[in-house]
């Protein structure tokens, strides 16, 4: 009921494909059972790395600002954008810094390493433990539903358009089984030199 990570609701999922990755989230912001906004995006780009943040909405906003701050300084000092692997370590240490008073979020990272060209995804718990997966990572109030959908729909090495279909169906059908998720969705398909962002039309209840 007053569990901080399920006050506002929302979900996020990332998947790898053949030379591509996808990351998607719903658009709902709620206050318990009341829907507040249907434009609350939970995915934030930092150069060619994408961060999905679910959980307590105030922490989602705070962390997106913190990582914008840190990656901007990184960009100025290194004269290049941060890589997904490096960013994953940054997320982990930033969260663990608040080990005994944590941000109530479940972050996921997706991107393609600009040096190697390899897809990369990772998930975290609220204190920064890294879960590096080769297939998919999930997060949010419908994470169990997402695990189920991903387990049954995912297959490795999909082309980007097939990956888009897989991740969209996984997200939408998970959201439909969760009262706190849904109200629209966003999907990013990320290839080496191209990013496509699509808004999905979904049921509004």
């Amino acid at each position: 009921m007053s569990d901080p990570s399920s006050i506002n609701g929302g979900i996020c999922v990332a998947m790898t494909g053949k030379d591509c990755v996808a990351i998607a989230c719903d658009l709902r912001l709620g206050s318990q059972s009341l829907g507040v906004s249907n434009k609350f995006e939970k995915i934030f780009p930092f150069g060619h790395v994408f961060l999905g943040l679910t959980g307590l909405a105030t922490d989602v906003l705070t962390l997106s600002e913190v990582f914008r701050y840190k990656t901007n300084l990184y960009k100025l000092r290194e004269d290049r954008y941060i890589e997904p692997q490096t960013f994953t370590q940054l997320v982990s240490s930033t969260l663990y810094e608040k080990r005994f008073g944590p941000y109530f979020t479940g972050p996921i990272v997706a991107g393609i390493n600009s040096k190697t060209g390899k897809p990369y995804i990772a998930g975290f718990d609220l204190i920064g433990c890294i879960d590096e997966a080769k297939d998919f990572v999930v997060s949010g109030t419908a994470s169990e539903q997402l695990f189920g959908m991903c387990e049954s729909l995912y297959e490795p090495n999909q082309e980007s358009e097939d990956l888009f279909e897989t991740i969209s169906q996984a997200l939408l059908n998970s959201a439909d089984r969760d009262a706190l998720s849904g109200w629209g969705a966003v999907v990013y398909i990320i290839k080496k030199n191209e990013v496509i962002k699509r808004y999905l039309k979904t049921r509004q209840d």
């Binding site: 009341l34 507040v36 906004s37 434009k39 609350f40 307590l56 909405a57 105030t58 906003l61």
Partner: protein, 195 residues
């Protein structure tokens, strides 16, 4: 629970707050103003713990005034909302958090567009066409969902607000002594006297 309502229409934002101050079973005042003017084009409406609310609102108010004096420039409503959010987000992880929820109505004079921002005591911020804090939302969102249009005039907005307040008067268990209505548009902040 206090009533705080906001509606963003085509070229203004309307904010309404209940005029009653209640403590336990008593109504202490029936002419309360739960708003503070932050700058020429932005208005903060608030609800929450007695004491905390005015302290917080006036803290924000003086900070915005200080910015205006230093820079000789008015912050945009979105920048103001971001500042308010940051203060509440800092507060929630402090020893004694402010228990304050706010609506920020503003008119971005540079862009020529109105903006309504809802921020709760946790620091959860959302830009919305219409917003409420507390119980008043449960009674009014159905009306607002049905009748709201983004291209409404201020007059039509006030008529929609009237419907909302009538509904609240019908269904709220205590007398909230009516609402104080303020409008923010390109000409600044003004009170709607005959509401």
């Amino acid at each position: 629970m206090d009533i705080v309502l906001g509606i963003r229409v085509k070229d203004s934002v309307i904010l309404a707050t209940s005029k009653a101050v209640t403590r336990g079973i008593s109504v202490l005042k029936s002419t309360d103003d739960k708003t503070r003017v932050l700058s020429e084009h932005s208005l903060l409406a608030f609800s929450g713990e007695a004491g905390d609310t005015v302290q917080f609102a006036e803290y924000i108010q003086v900070n915005m005034q200080l910015y205006s004096i230093r820079e000789n420039y008015e912050l945009s409503p979105y920048a103001t909302a971001s500042f308010v959010r940051q203060e509440l987000a800092k507060s929630i992880r402090s020893r004694k958090p402010f228990q304050v929820n706010v609506l920020l109505g503003g008119f971005d004079a540079k862009k020529g567009e109105p903006g309504l921002y809802q921020i709760d005591y946790l620091g959860t911020q959302a830009e919305l066409p219409y917003a409420a804090h507390g119980y008043s939302g449960f009674y009014t969102f159905s009306l607002l969902d049905r009748h709201y249009r983004p291209d409404m005039t201020t007059q039509e907005g006030l008529e929609l607000l009237r419907m909302c307040v009538d509904e609240l008067e019908r269904r709220m268990p205590i007398d909230f002594k009516g609402v104080l209505v303020k409008i923010v548009d390109k000409d600044g902040v003004r009170e709607e006297p005959n509401f």
